[in-house]
């Protein structure tokens, strides 16, 4: 089934990861089980897939920030997310 593929493509919508990722940029994402600080990850929040960078990790909790700090709503606003909410790690950007 398509949704269970370990590799997937996503199209970035919005400016919060600028300049690393620009609006409409295509990224290749990997369904990883290992995440670390500085990884760009896709996670679920309010039934939406969000993309941010891991800034800090504490056991099962992850603090995520947008690279464009002035235009990003991230863990500074919605707090730490759960590790299990992370779905993919970005491995390639086009």
């Amino acid at each position: 089934m398509l949704w269970s593929l370990p590799l997937t493509l996503r199209r970035v919508v919005g400016p919060s990861m600028y300049p690393t990722l620009k609006n409409n940029q295509i990224v290749l994402a990997w369904k990883s089980k290992n995440y670390s600080v500085n990884d760009i990850v896709i996670f679920s929040l309010n039934n939406r897939e969000i993309i941010k960078r891991i800034s800090d990790m504490n056991h099962n909790l992850v603090y995520v920030l947008g690279d464009n700090l002035k235009s990003s709503i991230d863990s500074r606003k919605f707090g730490w997310i759960n590790l299990e909410d992370i779905k993919y790690k970005i491995i390639l950007k086009k």
Binding site: T8, L9, R10, R11, V12, V13, G14, P15, S16, M17, Y18, L21, N23, N24, I26, V27, A29, I42, L45, N46, R48, E49, I50, I51, K52, G66, N68, K70, S71, S72, I73, R76, K77, F78
Partner: protein
């Protein structure tokens, strides 16, 4: 590559599922307490500042500036995302109050005077009062 006047890259990319890097999320969670916590942090730093050693003073200044920037950010989110025209009709001072309070956050970057941090807290308290009044059932 264009086919029949259609940019194929754009056309194909539109078919790829979006992932959101929006500057805002439709979570609807707002609270002036976020700005207040950062402002209290500035006040706390400035109270301790005179007793700190040189290295800690440098750190204190750096952290204070970060907190001041966060105060501005949190107030701007309230100003631009939460408050609606109907709130401004009822509280016409809101624009000036938010502007003056974010300016005050900027002032706390330039000083080690705790009084400036207390002025900032007072401004956030006024915004907070309006915020919670808007939350009351009509």
């Amino acid at each position: 590559m264009k086919v029949g006047g259609i940019n194929m890259y754009k056309a194909i990319s539109r078919m790829i599922k979006p992932v959101y890097a929006h500057c805002d999320l439709p979570c609807g969670v707002y609270d002036p307490m976020q700005a207040m916590i950062e402002a209290k942090s500035i006040e706390g730093i400035l109270k301790k500042y005179p007793e700190l050693g040189d290295t800690d003073k440098q750190r204190a200044i750096f952290i204070k500036e970060q907190r001041a920037e966060l105060v501005k950010h949190h107030l701007w989110v309230l100003w631009t995302d939460y408050f609606k025209p109907k709130h401004l009709e009822k509280y016409p001072e809101l624009h000036t109050l938010t502007w003056e309070t974010t300016k005050q956050a900027g002032k706390t970057k330039k000083t080690v005077d705790v009084v400036e941090a207390q002025k900032l807290i007072a401004g956030i308290e006024k915004i907070s009062k309006i915020f919670w009044e808007t939350k009351k059932p009509v």
